[in-house]
Symmetry: none
Subunit: 203 residues, 4 copies
């Protein structure tokens, strides 16, 4: 407790300021076209200050990634267990996913677009957060199979990937399209499609 001083707080806040500025600038220009000095200016600090909080330009990207993923996975792990119906779990999961994307558009652009061209990020993503993401989906699907609402013979791992693919693809589309009609409003149609696809009645 006593270790979290006022100075620590100031430090944490400034770090987040720079991180949000980086997300904004990377979202606007793309990671490679963005200059560190753009980030600094957007954060209202001197160029050198960025390097007091982050090792280098690359570390900014990594940190955005970790920040966003942790927020999402933590939230999902907290909320979902409270929901009984597996179908509603999946719906809630999609809402969380799309909600975060909508709330943090800059982060989302970076995440959906900029991070994808880095093998390193993608490998790390695949083995850590994505694995966790898919695991959460899989648990819900298997719960649904156990509960008799999803067809038993479908491969929960494959269908978890399907659902991720759909949600991720739509997120990318939304992020890349200017018009920006609500992404959240797509949750119900998408889930309807998916749930129809896996529904027990259609064995």
């Amino acid at each position: 407790m006593s270790t979290d001083t006022a100075e620590d707080k100031v430090r944490r806040e400034r770090r987040e300021t720079i991180l949000r500025a980086a997300a904004k600038v990377f979202a606007q220009f793309g990671y490679f076209r963005a200059k560190v000095s753009d980030v600094a200016r957007a954060a209202g600090v001197a160029d050198g200050t960025v390097y007091l909080y982050f090792r280098n330009k690359d570390d900014l990207l990594t940190s955005i990634f970790n920040w966003a993923m942790e927020e999402f996975v933590t939230q999902a792990r907290e909320e979902l267990p409270e929901i009984v119906d597996p179908r509603e779990q999946l719906r809630r999961f999609a809402q969380l996913h799309f909600g975060l994307i909508e709330r943090e558009r800059d982060l989302a652009i970076v995440f959906q677009v900029e991070l994808r061209h880095s093998t390193r990020f993608m490998e790390r993503f695949s083995t850590t957060y994505l694995a966790e993401y898919l695991q959460i989906l899989r648990e819900a699907i298997e719960a649904g199979q156990t509960a008799g609402v999803f067809r038993k013979q479908l491969n929960s791992k494959v269908h978890a990937k399907f659902l991720f693919g759909i949600l991720d693809g739509m997120a990318t589309n939304w992020v890349l399209s200017r018009k920006s009609n609500s992404l959240s409003s797509m949750v119900d149609p998408v889930l309807e499609l998916f749930l129809n696809g896996v529904n027990e009645r259609h064995a």
Copy 2:
């Protein structure tokens, strides 16, 4: 016709050599990390020669994009009309999509990963080829609705996007994952899911 001399042919072939080299190099290093001289070396020509066939580095990317999209759309426009069942049209469409991705892995990496971080490309893609892609899907869906095999009340435009989202997302996953179990083999499960989702029986 008579203007398409042997020299023109040589020129066209060398252009394609460079383009394939660019796809390979961009796929390996990423667009921004790839050097024009890497492309030149991979193509077996001098650095300057690249500029005799392409305006600049950016033009290489644009050209890869157009080349790949044209091949795909042309093929789809040719083959699909010959298929009667709208469900088989969709399946064939997915096969074409995944087949191209598998056959031209370098192109696919560039297309799925590198092109995505360019707003300019994505805007252009959205308004031209993607529009055409979605239009093809939409026509098949509407044909299915007319034929009474797909639910009438579903929004053909939205569901075309769904299917694109799923296919595109899976293509990205396949491209980014090392393991590379067949992508084509996923066509049937994916289509099963989608067709179940839109099937008339599940109104």
Copy 3:
């Protein structure tokens, strides 16, 4: 006198702490590669504190230089007059020189290596301390000539430079070599050579 308060003493001591830290750090990394913050850390003070005692990084180097030279020249000026034989004066001088180098290895590295690349330092060194150093040697040589133990026709100024050149060169070698067998033990062989070279018997 009464102005030399306890506070002054604290100040003087802290100044020396920083100076020794600077010598150590410069010796280890070289002046240009050494950071002021390295010096501060080695001295156990904050970066800013260094600037309360020294104008800038350069002033640290200048101050090391003056400190070392003053100690040496003062000592030589005190001890040598008490020695009668000019040959023993030269021997004692060499002992003082090598003894200081051995005792203050960090200072010596800075002095022998780091200071040499600065024209400014070397000019200042040449016109002040080196001049004094050579003057001391010259006086001993001339005393030897008067006493009839050194050849009269040799140029005392030139031979003072010779001896400095030998001693300085050996000091540099010792400083740069890892092995570090005693430098002091070289005093006698060196002096034997030099004294043979200038001995009256070989006119």
Copy 4:
């Protein structure tokens, strides 16, 4: 033969132009204060061109070092065997040393001053060229001992170091002093001192 084309020659000459420019600029400003763009300007080429011939700034320094040392050692190895009297061999060696220093003042400044603060260079120098330099001196001294003109009991290795120390020290002094009265003219006095010091008559 046929491999040394006109292009190779142009390349070699341009490399040397840049190397000489680097020596000049490093000599004037010191290695750390000199900018690569200063070197480029002095050589009459663009900044980037420097990097077509040298890996980095450091490589410029290394290359100056190798160039100078190779020229000296080669020349010494060629000329000395033709001289019979070991005393004249030493004298000729000193003339070559001082002659090179005088002829290539920029190189000499870099060599005597700039290179000395680099542990890396000094280690390399000590184990390669300096070792060869000392070996040449040692052979001459031992030849003198065999011929009965130098005292047998003196340690040839130690005295080779002495002579190097004297010559190197004088070279450094000459290089650092503006006045620049001839360095070559010091060869005879220095050698007189040294030869007197090692002369057989003074056992």
